[in-house]
Symmetry: C2
């Protein structure tokens, strides 16, 4: 009974039972065993099949619902609403982790890096005092050798030394910071809109001035809620698309008017 029935994580840590059950169901959905639009077995049936309580089954299907794979309504059986899992946190926060997951060859290059004082807006976003030091970095990211994204990041001063130790051609900053100082990017807030390519944008991304760019601005924080970085990432049009799946019960995304005070 100690065995979870799904083995242990590669890291050696045991997986929760419901995670394994979710994985099994997810696999069945992605393989088409449960077709899109069809019903899932009832919770009671699944509880019997996996020999767990109904609560554990509900945890498993909650996971699938969060991924946008299944939906539910009281009184009716759960149905399959999709076959592809929508983006994970890592995919939204780390360009390299997303690209690698998609099987792309990714590279990055630091073009500029310097310490300076935080301006008022940055101080607010990074929870610093105005005048505190920050590290400003300009990076060009490429996919399959093609430049696709320009990243302007401002790191809080306390993490600057670790960032400066990262080689300029490092692929994944997220991973480097984790391996170096154990920093985990735990929460993110993202603003997505479209902008015209400026002078620097157009030169580095090799597009015409004024051509459309997909912009993702974000603040990333640690587990403790401590802001680590504030970034403005601009993608060449056509190179990247954000995908979101939602349901009337769960939805991670909202629209906002253009003139945001905090995040301009």
């Amino acid at each position: 009974m100690v065995d979870t029935g799904n083995g242990a994580e590669p890291g050696g840590r045991a997986a929760a039972r419901y995670v394994g059950i979710a994985a099994e169901l997810r696999e069945a959905i992605m393989c088409g065993e449960y077709a899109v639009g069809s019903q899932l077995p009832s919770e009671t049936t699944l509880a019997t099949r996996f020999d767990v309580s109904r609560g554990t089954v509900r945890q498993a299907v909650a996971l699938l619902a969060a991924e946008g794979l299944v939906g539910s309504r009281q009184g009716a059986r759960r149905i399959v609403v999709g076959r592809e899992r929508s983006q994970s946190f890592a995919e939204l926060n780390s360009f390299a982790q997303w690209a690698q997951a998609m099987g792309y060859r990714v590279s990055g290059q630091v073009l500029e890096q310097r310490r300076r004082d935080a301006d008022a807006a940055e101080a607010v976003r990074l929870a610093l005092q105005p005048g505190d030091q920050v590290l400003s970095v300009l990076r060009l990211r490429s996919l399959e050798g093609e430049p696709v994204m320009l990243e302007r990041t401002v790191y809080a001063g306390w993490i600057a030394p670790a960032v400066e130790r990262i080689p300029p051609d490092c692929e994944s900053i997220t991973q480097a910071l984790y391996e170096d100082v154990g920093l985990v990017f735990a929460y993110g807030e993202h603003l997505i809109d479209a902008v015209s390519a400026g002078v620097e944008d157009s030169r580095l991304l090799v597009v015409r001035r004024g051509s459309p760019l997909l912009r993702q601005r974000r603040v990333t924080t640690t587990h403790e809620g401590r802001p680590v970085e504030w970034s403005d990432d601009r993608y060449r049009a056509g190179s990247v698309t954000f995908s979101i799946r939602n349901s009337v019960d769960a939805n991670p995304l909202v629209r906002q008017m253009g003139d945001l005070r905090l995040m301009s």
Copy 2:
């Protein structure tokens, strides 16, 4: 004991206890009673305070976690990570409902509407047979009198009659379809990217050709997973921003039996 402690919904339906508890905590967070970065009371404390079981408390905080307001790590108290709720399926799926919730004056105008046969791509997205009839609609949406979004929607043939009954200047199609035939948009899949304004785009949105537009393509389905519409919406740059808050806890779940949630 029948009273939920939080009254009933306006519609007359009783609210779940955990929803009321979440509302109370949410209010406290938004009012700054629990500051961003500070800790929430422990689950046990909250269970005592609200006189419910720990499971119910966990459902409540799961709701807040899904909204991106709080985060958690095993062994440590939950912390507040944000003050603004990012929520509502309606906000992502219905332009009018989003705008109205934000307090904006919204309007819409049908510029073109006609039935035709579905092409191959549309048939796939709407789960139709190639050659089945669809209803193609071009709508211009305005905010505060300013045109901000151009909507090119293809409705599955089975809902076409109801769509055709909608007045051309109707503000909310979502609401109209609900009131007319009880149709509920339950699930959505969205693709967000940036494109250049084409000839028609630039004329109707009053922007220069080639200027950046934020594009949201989406498929919306019913509770049963039946596709209703496929739409290509283009926003004038600067008019609208999408916002997402996410967390590394792939695990949107929480609780002992409920579901709910995220995205990322």
